[in-house]
């Protein structure tokens, strides 16, 4: 795929905005939810909210894997981290997520061995490097990450490593969208669907959106122009009165997705109910290791019981933010008790969290104030 030059990008954006304005009736209020943290960041980085017509509102959804990981999972991860013979392998994003009583960063300062990895396959090296330790990999993430981690699970099994385990809390995007719509809370007039997730699962798993809920949606790539083209696609669907799963990321997302990755996921994981931070249990929205790989499931092989109850941070509105019910700056803690340097909720921790994005890009003082 050829990248647009800045000038081409500018021209394309102008043309798209022109069409968007044509299709939007003044005074009409449309709320579109982006379901991917990378989209949330791109929308801010490129200042999309200021160029869209008033009335088209972009709302962030449950699209940041760290943010939707629930408190019980964090507490379990911390319990493993405190074991003398355990090395936690994790993506860097997880370090500062507050558990009920501590965080991985805090555990690290108290002597826990925590290894930040950049690609899941590093756990193989760690397993060989520390034969007398148990490596516990914090396996979180949506479909994109699941495929890569699934391949890692297989590689660990094939290598016969007996000291590498997975603490799995993978989340699936389509069931979460269904749950948001079933609850009928907050107005959602369309979904901007995540490009990377869709590379894996394709278009079909979203088919229930137009068919059962009469909601337009569009798969989008990650720069501002690609998000704009998805907004336009959704407006066009509304204009025609015929809804579908649009795809403006054709060059990358195939209709049927990545079949090899899907097959791998089927082999390594079974679908299960899962708990999402602040939202609760969503049926069939998570994955656990299948029977054939159960010997790599740390919860089965090294069972633990948490001796204290898991508590959501007091006053934190992450759950409502993740469902698009409130904007981050409507949380009473936002920018006051809760900032990226002293995060209370997960959405303020991850670079892709909505609260962190709102804070970083200048909403701390109540709005993007820039005098022209």
């Amino acid at each position: 795929m050829k990248k647009l030059t800045l000038q081409e990008k500018q021209q394309t954006a102008e043309a798209l905005l022109h069409r968007i304005k044509d299709l939007h009736t003044e005074g009409e209020n449309i709320r579109l939810m982006e379901v991917c943290g990378t989209h949330t960041v791109a929308i801010f980085r490129e200042g999309l909210r200021q160029v869209l017509p008033k009335g088209i509102e972009l709302v962030s959804g449950p699209g940041c894997p760290v943010c939707v990981t629930d408190q019980v999972y964090m507490d379990k991860a911390l319990a493993y981290a405190e074991m003398d013979d355990v090395i936690i392998a994790t993506f860097g994003d997880m370090l500062k997520v507050p558990g009920s009583y501590s965080s991985l960063t805090e555990a690290q300062t108290k002597g826990a061995h925590i290894h930040v990895i950049y690609t899941p396959l590093e756990v193989l090296t760690l397993g060989k490097q520390y034969p007398h330790k148990k490596i516990v990999f914090l396996a979180i993430g949506f479909e994109t990450t699941i495929a890569v981690i699934g391949a890692t699970v297989k590689a660990v099994a094939e290598a016969g490593l007996r000291n590498v385990f997975f603490l799995v809390s993978h989340k699936l995007v389509p069931p979460a969208l269904r749950a948001l719509l079933d609850r009928q809370v907050g107005q959602i007039d369309g979904f901007i669907l995540p490009g990377h997730v869709s590379v894996i699962i394709g278009e079909q798993p979203y088919a229930f959106l137009p068919m059962e809920y009469a909601i337009p949606s569009c798969i989008a790539g990650f720069d501002g122009v690609e998000v704009l083209s998805a907004v336009l696609n959704i407006l066009e669907q509304r204009h025609r009165g015929r809804f579908e799963v649009g795809n403006t990321y054709h060059s990358v997302v195939m209709q049927e997705g990545n079949l090899v990755a899907q097959q791998l996921m089927d082999e390594v994981y079974d679908i299960c109910d899962d708990t999402w931070r602040g939202i609760g249990v969503i049926p069939n929205s998570g994955l656990k290791l299948s029977e054939a790989y159960a010997h790599l499931d740390v919860e089965k092989m090294i069972p633990i019981t948490l001796d204290k109850p898991s508590l959501d941070p007091k006053g934190c509105q992450c759950g409502r933010v993740l469902q698009g019910l409130i904007k981050p700056n409507e949380c009473p803690l936002f920018g006051k008790a809760c900032t990226p340097d002293h995060a209370i909720g997960a959405c303020m921790v991850s670079v892709e969290g909505s609260c962190a994005a709102w804070y970083k890009y200048g909403y701390a003082s109540g709005g993007l104030s820039w005098e022209e």
Binding site: K3, L6, Q7, K9, Q10, A13, E14, L17, G37, T38, V41, F44, R45, E46, G47, L48, R49, Q50, V51, P65, V66, F91, G92, D93, K96, V116, Y118, I140, G141, F142, T144, T145, H196, V197, F222, G224, V225, L228, P340, D341, S350, V351, E352, K360, Y361, G362, L368, W370, E371
Partner: protein, 335 residues
């Protein structure tokens, strides 16, 4: 393979050997030659700039350079940012027991070449050796002095509204080159550090239009975003820049896209932000363009008398993005 041993730092015969085998081989000049406790030299009357920096990059070798290149260019450039003409540097080496001789050779040869390129002399120094594991191969401290010509007054207090902001080239190259090496990413060979001494280029600017230059800053750690926000705060002006004027090489942008880095916050080692009177902008650009390290220079924005303390970037699609200081270190995203 010969390696550095602890005895090389004990001050005795082995230390002498180390000095002769390495230091005198690469750094030879009249001021260093006496091997006294310091260097003695005369200075002209006027104002002097004095700067120091320690270099601890990991890994010490990366595409386009090594820690020695940083150690010379970094301190030379810090002097340049004061408007000074760099003259003399000190060089303090802290070596890890076990460092291969040939790696030290490479680093010192690079320092010699960079000193020559920057037309400065390394006139005093020190070498310590510490036990394996106490440092990561090699740390270097350099300090430097240079004289500031008359009529040159550089600093945040000279920045006023309605001045032009010029950036001397692309951003992000250095960070991505080092990170690629650190994490063993197989990156395009076009990704190299931009590390270079900027004194000749900046002297060419200052000798022509020095009094019209208010500020020089190198966007190193924290990147361009952090530096602009610091200027807006320190000088109490607003700053508006245009995304379309920033140069980010395709390869750098691609790595950023994959890892979730923001090029605005990546370190550069051979770039400079100049804030100048609008009357000289074109002339400054012409001068910068005539140097290889300034060939991609562009006028990226201006200072304002409103939005004081804020930095706004007009995005290529017409939106406005506020730019803050770098917070936490950027970490790769996970999906």
């Amino acid at each position: 393979m010969e390696r550095i041993r602890l005895v090389h730092g004990n001050g005795g015969r082995f230390s002498h050997e180390l000095t002769e085998r390495f230091i005198l081989k690469y750094f030879t000049n009249d001021l260093l030659a006496p091997l006294h406790d310091g260097a003695q030299f005369s200075v002209s009357a006027g104002r002097m700039a004095f700067s120091t920096d320690s270099y601890v990059v990991q890994p010490p070798f990366f595409p386009g350079g090594n820690i020695g290149k940083l150690a010379v260019c970094g301190t030379v450039n810090d002097l340049v940012m004061n408007g000074a003409i760099p003259q003399y540097l000190s060089c303090s080496l802290i070596l890890e027991e076990g460092l291969p001789f040939d790696e030290l050779d490479d680093i010192l040869a690079t320092m010699r070449d960079m000193a020559e390129q920057a037309n400065i002399q390394i006139v005093t120094g020190d070498t310590k050796v510490v036990k394996k594991g106490e440092v990561d191969k090699i740390y270097i401290n350099t300090a430097g002095v240079g004289m500031i010509p008359e009529n040159i007054h550089i600093g945040p207090s000279y920045v006023k509204p309605n001045m032009d902001i010029i950036l001397s080239g692309s951003i992000g190259d250095h960070s991505i080159a080092v990170m690629g090496q650190r994490f063993g990413l197989e990156l395009s060979e076009n990704i190299k550090t931009d590390c270079a001494p900027l004194n000749h280029m900046i002297q060419a600017v200052l000798s022509k239009v020095g009094p019209q230059v208010a500020l020089l800053r190198d966007p190193t750690r924290g990147g361009l975003g952090t530096v602009l926000k610091e200027i807006a705060d320190q000088s109490q002006v607003g700053i508006k820049i245009h995304q379309s004027k920033l140069i980010i090489h395709d390869e750098v942008q691609s790595v950023c896209d994959i890892l979730g880095y923001d090029p605005l916050y990546l370190a550069n080692e051979g770039k400079v932000v100049l804030i100048v009177e609008p009357s000289v902008t074109d002339e400054v650009l012409n001068i910068l363009h005539s140097f290889p390290e300034g060939r991609e220079a562009s006028h990226i924005g201006s200072t304002l008398d409103k939005n004081l303390g804020k930095v706004g970037m007009q995005t290529s699609i017409g939106g406005m993005r506020l730019i803050d200081l770098l917070g936490e270190d950027q970490v790769p995203r996970i999906c």
